[in-house]
């Protein structure tokens, strides 16, 4: 087992330091009643890489996303994004600083058209200010630019044919795609995707994978939650494993998936299977 890589600084272990971290979290905890949903001592997310956050249902992945993006308040903890303190910052300001997330339960705005959903994703549109909105010349040009950018993304996500439809008319998978495309409208520095593949038509999976890889090429950092081990193995540079609120392992995908602690936490009875060849669904069926 390799103990070093170009991503980690020093030994690879849960909570290890990174060469170039974009997000650093310390002592982040969140309890619901007596249940400690998140209990992360230290976590660093490498800049410009694709990091997968995996772990069984109820491990605390979504709660951790909610905390880091300001949608939920932690009991303890601090974290910095690009060196700036982010703890206690309102969600919209987190997004404005370039850390944009999607939701496990899709939040496509079904009463807006697909293109309007996309336009809403853009930032710094002067027409979104109350007083400027009265004067079309103040925002028409920017709106035009935004629309052009939206059309490029819609095409890439194969939603261009649905441009004028209400988002309500989209399938579950298409809404996931729309939500992800919308999140990209602001050119985020870090995009956090909560189960982006859930419900997406398998025919679209490959292009979505390519698109996430493409994000890395443009310098965007990706942190995503996913259950599909094929996807995790194929596109991630780094894997972080959560179980019962804690980080139990991390490392390059090949190494992590052979880690007994991970197999134990994640799969229980399937300890003898190679994680790279099973998806969590087949495992669940097996139980």
């Amino acid at each position: 087992m390799a103990n070093t890589s170009d991503i980690a600084k020093g030994a690879i272990e849960p909570g290890c330091a990174k060469v170039d971290p974009i997000l650093i979290a310390d002592n982040v905890t969140r309890s619901f009643g007596g249940n400690k949903a998140v209990d992360v001592a230290h976590l660093e997310i490498p800049r410009g890489k694709i990091t997968a956050l995996i772990g069984p249902n109820g491990a605390g992945k979504t709660t951790l996303f909610n905390l880091l993006t300001g949608f939920d308040k932690p009991n303890t903890g601090t974290w910095t994004f690009e060196g700036k303190q982010l703890a206690g910052i309102a969600p919209h300001r987190v997004a404005r600083w370039g850390m944009v997330r999607t939701f496990q339960l899709t939040k496509a705005l079904s009463l807006l058209t697909v293109i309007d959903n996309m336009r809403l994703g853009a930032q710094d549109n002067p027409g979104e200010s109350f007083f400027k909105s009265f004067v079309r010349p103040l925002w028409a040009k920017k709106e035009q630019e935004i629309t052009e950018r939206a059309d490029v993304l819609l095409k890439r996500f194969k939603l261009d044919a649905k441009r004028e439809d209400y988002a309500a008319a989209l399938s579950g998978g298409q809404r996931k795609l729309l939500e992800m495309a919308r999140a990209l409208m602001s050119d985020p520095k870090l995009v956090m995707l909560d189960e982006p593949m859930a419900g997406v038509n398998p025919a679209l999976t490959q292009s979505l994978l390519d698109h996430i890889k493409g994000l890395k090429e443009t310098g965007t950092t990706v942190l995503f939650v996913e259950h599909d081990m094929h996807m995790v193995r194929h596109i991630s540079d780094w894997v972080v494993v959560m179980a019962e609120g804690k980080i139990v392992a991390e490392g390059p995908p090949d190494v992590v998936m052979k880690n007994p602690a991970v197999i134990d936490a994640y799969l229980g009875a399937h300890a003898n299977d190679d994680l790279g060849t099973v998806s969590i669904d087949t495992v669940k069926e097996g139980n």
Partner: protein, 327 residues
């Protein structure tokens, strides 16, 4: 029965002052509920603050029409801030509860003798429209407009009232079709989605609350300027619920809806009133007295509204896809 009179009275409501005043109040609610998803059950208070603000500034501060007008607007905007600051970060029902309670509290405060130096107590305020009517270019007299005959004052207040309705409607069309309006529609559906895209949802909701409240206060000013009397008893919760009726009749997320809704509402009230009175007078309804007619017509309005909600829940003009009662 005098059919000519029934017709002229009913048609007169089409451009009546109260029709315009309610249309303004309902346009404010359309901003709140239809476009933002805010539940304001205290529109009577916003209208009352416009009315009392105007009258107070004229009578006690001796300001002219423009100053009084501005004062009425400021009063309702401040009230909106007070309502919004503690509630707009919470779920939608908090604003609903707080506005009901505050409107009721204001209603009693306006009527009590404690503040009679400012509000006139239970007598209310009167004769504060001199400056407003001094702008009237129409010479004194009575004018036969075909359907109705009106005095120069009655015509002037109608011109101003419907002019305001037109200005507000155009501004709202511009606003709701702008990116600002798009953001509000997003908030109406899912605040968290809009937050995740970097928009300050609290600020948008506050802007909507202030704007809709100010529009309501214009309605209140028009309401009292027609008779130059302002009494606390006008601003009961019934005023709010009639405004909601007007809004839901026309369609909550539309601009034309509240205006047409108001016209239909007042024409319906006048039509039922005059027809029922006519029938009672000729002895066709022996079980009803003239005094009861006033109540019966509201009962009919309620029935009408129920049928509308069942058969056309989006109102006259609403888009069924956009209709949602869940705020």
């Amino acid at each position: 029965m005098d059919f000519a009179q029934i017709f002229s009275l009913t048609a007169g409501e089409l451009f009546g002052v109260f029709t315009a005043a309610y249309a303004l109040c309902a346009l404010g609610l359309a901003m709140h509920f239809g476009y933002t998803g805010l539940l304001n059950f205290g529109q009577a208070a916003f209208a009352a603050l416009g009315a009392y603000g105007y009258a107070f500034a004229t009578l006690n501060l001796h300001w002219n029409m423009w100053g009084s007008f501005a004062f009425g607007i400021i009063c309702s905007a401040v009230f909106a801030l007070i309502m919004g600051i503690p509630t707009l970060r919470l779920r939608a029902d908090y604003l609903a509860i707080v506005t009901i309670a505050a409107a009721q509290a204001l209603y009693y405060a306006f009527g009590t003798s404690q503040f009679a130096w400012a509000t006139g107590g239970s007598n209310g305020l009167s004769q504060f429209g001199t400056d407003f009517y001094s702008y009237n270019p129409i010479p004194e007299g009575r004018y036969d407009l075909g359907i109705v005959t009106l005095s120069e004052k009655e015509i002037w207040v109608r011109i101003v009232a419907w002019g305001l309705v037109a200005i507000v409607a155009v501004l709202l069309v511009v606003l709701t079709r702008s990116p600002w309006g798009r953001t509000l529609k997003g908030i109406r559906e899912d605040e968290d989605a809009v937050r995740s895209l970097g928009k300050n949802v609290f600020v948008y909701k506050m802007q909507s609350l202030v704007l809709g409240g100010v529009i309501g206060s214009l309605g209140g000013m028009i309401f009292v300027l027609s008779s130059q009397t302002n009494q606390a008893s006008t601003w009961v919760s019934n005023f709010t619920f009639m405004t909601w009726t007007v809004l839901l009749l026309g369609g909550a997320a539309t601009i034309l809806g509240p205006i047409v809704g108001s016209a239909v509402f007042f024409m319906f009230l006048m039509l039922t009133q005059t027809v029922l009175e006519g029938l009672v007078n000729i002895g066709a309804l022996p079980f009803l007295s003239i005094a009861q007619v006033g109540q019966i017509r509201y009962l009919l309005v309620g029935l009408f509204l129920m049928l509308l909600v069942i058969f056309r829940p989006q109102g006259f003009f609403g888009n069924k896809k956009e209709m949602q009662f869940n705020g």
